[in-house]
Amino acid sequence: MIRISKRLELPPYLQWLIRASSIIFALIIMSVFLLALGHNPIKVYSAMVTGSFGTFFRFRKTIELMIPLSITALGILVAFKMKFWNIGAEGQILMGAFAATFFALKFAYLPRPLLLILMAIGGSLIGGLWALIPAFFKVKYATNETLFTLMLNYIAIKWIIYLQYGPWKDPQQAGFPKIPDFSVNATLPTLGGIHVGWLILIALVIIAHIVMNKTKFGFEIAVIGESKNTAKYAGMSVNKVILSTLFISGALGGLVGMMQTSGVHGTLSTSITGGIGYTAIIVTWLAHVKVHLIPVIGLLFAVLIQGAFFIQTAFQIPHSVADILQGMILFSALGSEFFINYRLHLVKNRRAKRVVK
């Protein structure tokens, strides 16, 4: 017999030990799998690390993945802190990318700094407004935000596809549906070989840390997350805080959309997100909704994704196996949270069970 009971809080080092061993557990399980496919698992795992950092190009690509993951996770964090389950980051990124692309295509003649600032503001604004829709319905009609934000993602995807095949189709592409490439003016500059998004990420982490931990606004978000009634009794204007928090949440997603189009892909399509909007939810979760952990987990995820990508070419490991490897690690990492919060008792026999009672 196995019984489950809630744990008292473990000391942090033990928590991290459990997390680390869960990853090791996943790697061991996958080793059997990789061995069966004729690969040396240790070589594969170390190649995941060299595949992420081995050359400057790979390092750049890893950081280019970490930036949007972490900023999107910050956006999700502010909503999650309030227990507003914003699953709509994917759509917020795409709508932000749409606004940024609008300026990039229609105002390409503007000087570069001005155009980039317009794109960033436009992207954040539309991303924020897109997140305000479910927030408005939540405060006004108490709709379920999980479903609402998720469904808005599909609308955003279809909107981008409509633009791609319709009004924004590049006439110079011989009939192929593609939104035109950005001019140099609409491209984010690089600093140290990587687009300036990394500076924005550092700034945002610091700002978010201060806002969430040191300001009245951050406190209000946390209180509403714990109990709306408490917040009301304390005289907070709950609805106002919910709306402004969601605007910020969506605006961060929108900013990511701008950076992905302008800094990485140089054009708009539905692949600019690469699923970041969903992966960032897991990042936020594994970071325990704590700002300072976001970039760390974001980097780990970037390595995981980039590494899984690299081993496909380096070892000719099929795409689906690389996917299983990623999935296994994620599964174990999320599963370890269970063992941090609960413990299992092996109950040898009925008598022992009675004694435990």
């Binding site: 680390a20 090791i24 240790i42 070589k43 593609k178 692949s271 070419t313 070892f315 795409h319």
Partner: protein, 362 residues
């Protein structure tokens, strides 16, 4: 506590192992030719990516060169990462087999001047990058002959992907084939706005069948429309590769790709050091596109008429889009005794008479 000790010892020993063996997967090759393939889909057992992978295997078998591939690559900056990884692994020839890869191949082409880039269905080239594609409209026309003979209701369903000229050209060529043998028949088009979505494509085919179509043709990468035809006991024309086993009672034939000879000759040129970027649009006379062998499901007499037109096309005596062609709206294009130019065909954005459907965007 004891368990924790065991766990921590396990963790530490594994970490030591991992760090100790930090050598790379495989060393880059010297001067030998290694060919990388970037695929937009999964290889699977049929379809567009599968057809390219057959070409890759042919290269290994015929030339003994090493090859590698990566499946399911997004049409995004991800392509640049794949290229860098492949070059790191020693690739000096890279085939990108989707239109949307072009921009990113072009982005990095000048960073790797010693690597040859070949872009399938692309439009842009560079000093070390070409574009190549096939005149699929030729075997499409032939498949139209088969469908036109097969139909009893004189309504043929066409499950179409997106409103782009490649798809439109295919529908028009198919319709010309149908009307060559059966002027009464019409081709009814339904758009799915998908390249790979079995459920949607099957639904679309079923809707066409419900609307009295008794032959189904398609432009997507799944055999789902053929399976819909199989379920309802009618006939189907496939696409990309032979899919007889997916719908044994329905599948009649399919316009398909055969990249073998082109890939072999290009890689041979690279090995010989004579490769130059040449943009090509190859037809049935080059063997790049063809009509798959007819099955028992094909109607009587189809084999003969297909053979007749096939040899004319290969000999250059017959061009699919030639003479005066009446468009859907009643206007005409083309002149007697002349074929449409490549440019006119590449920018085709109208349906011809006999197609029952609408091009919605543009």
């Amino acid at each position: 506590m004891r368990k924790l000790k065991i766990i921590s010892v396990l963790v530490l020993s594994l970490l030591v192992l991992l760090t100790a063996c930090s050598d790379q997967g495989s060393e880059p090759q010297g001067t030998t030719t290694k060919v990388g393939f970037i695929y937009v889909g999964m290889i699977g057992t049929e379809g567009f990516t599968y057809s390219h992978d057959q070409g890759r295997l042919y290269l290994e078998q015929e030339l003994g060169v090493e090859t590698m591939y990566q499946e399911a690559v997004d049409e995004s900056a991800e392509v640049e990462t794949v290229i860098a990884n492949m070059v790191d692994q020693g690739c000096n020839v890279i085939f990108g087999t989707s239109y949307g890869f072009g921009k990113y191949m072009l982005n990095v082409a000048d960073q790797y001047p010693d690597v040859k880039f070949l872009h399938c269905s692309g439009a842009q080239d560079a000093e070390n990058m070409n574009t190549y594609f096939g005149r699929m409209y030729e075997p499409r026309f032939l498949s139209g002959l088969v469908a036109g003979l097969k139909t009893k209701t004189n309504k043929i369903g066409y499950v179409a992907a997106y409103e782009i000229s490649e798809v439109i050209r295919g529908i028009n060529a198919f319709t010309l084939g149908v009307q060559t043998v059966n002027p009464e028949a019409e081709v009814e088009v339904v758009w799915t706005h998908t390249w790979y979505d079995p459920a949607t494509e099957k639904e679309a085919a079923l809707a066409l069948i419900d609307n009295n179509c008794d032959v189904i043709a398609q432009h997507q990468d799944t055999a789902a429309p053929q399976q819909a035809a199989e379920e309802r006991g009618i006939a189907a024309v496939g696409y990309h590769s032979i899919t007889e086993k997916n719908a044994p009672e329905a599948y009649m034939t399919a316009p398909i790709w055969n990249w073998n000879d082109y890939y072999k000759s290009e890689v041979e040129k690279v090995i010989a050091g004579t490769w130059t970027p040449e943009n090509v649009w190859l037809g049935m006379n080059d063997g790049l596109v063809l009509l798959a062998p007819l099955t028992e499901n094909a109607p009587d007499g189809a084999a003969e008429i297909v053979e007749e037109y096939q040899s004319k096309i290969i000999a250059g005596d017959f061009h699919v889009f030639s003479g005066v062609i009446t468009k859907q709206d009643g206007t005409t294009i083309g002149e007697e005794g002349q074929a449409l130019s490549d440019e006119e065909m590449l920018n085709m954005s109208y349906f011809i008479k006999g197609v029952n459907g609408k091009i919605e965007t543009n």
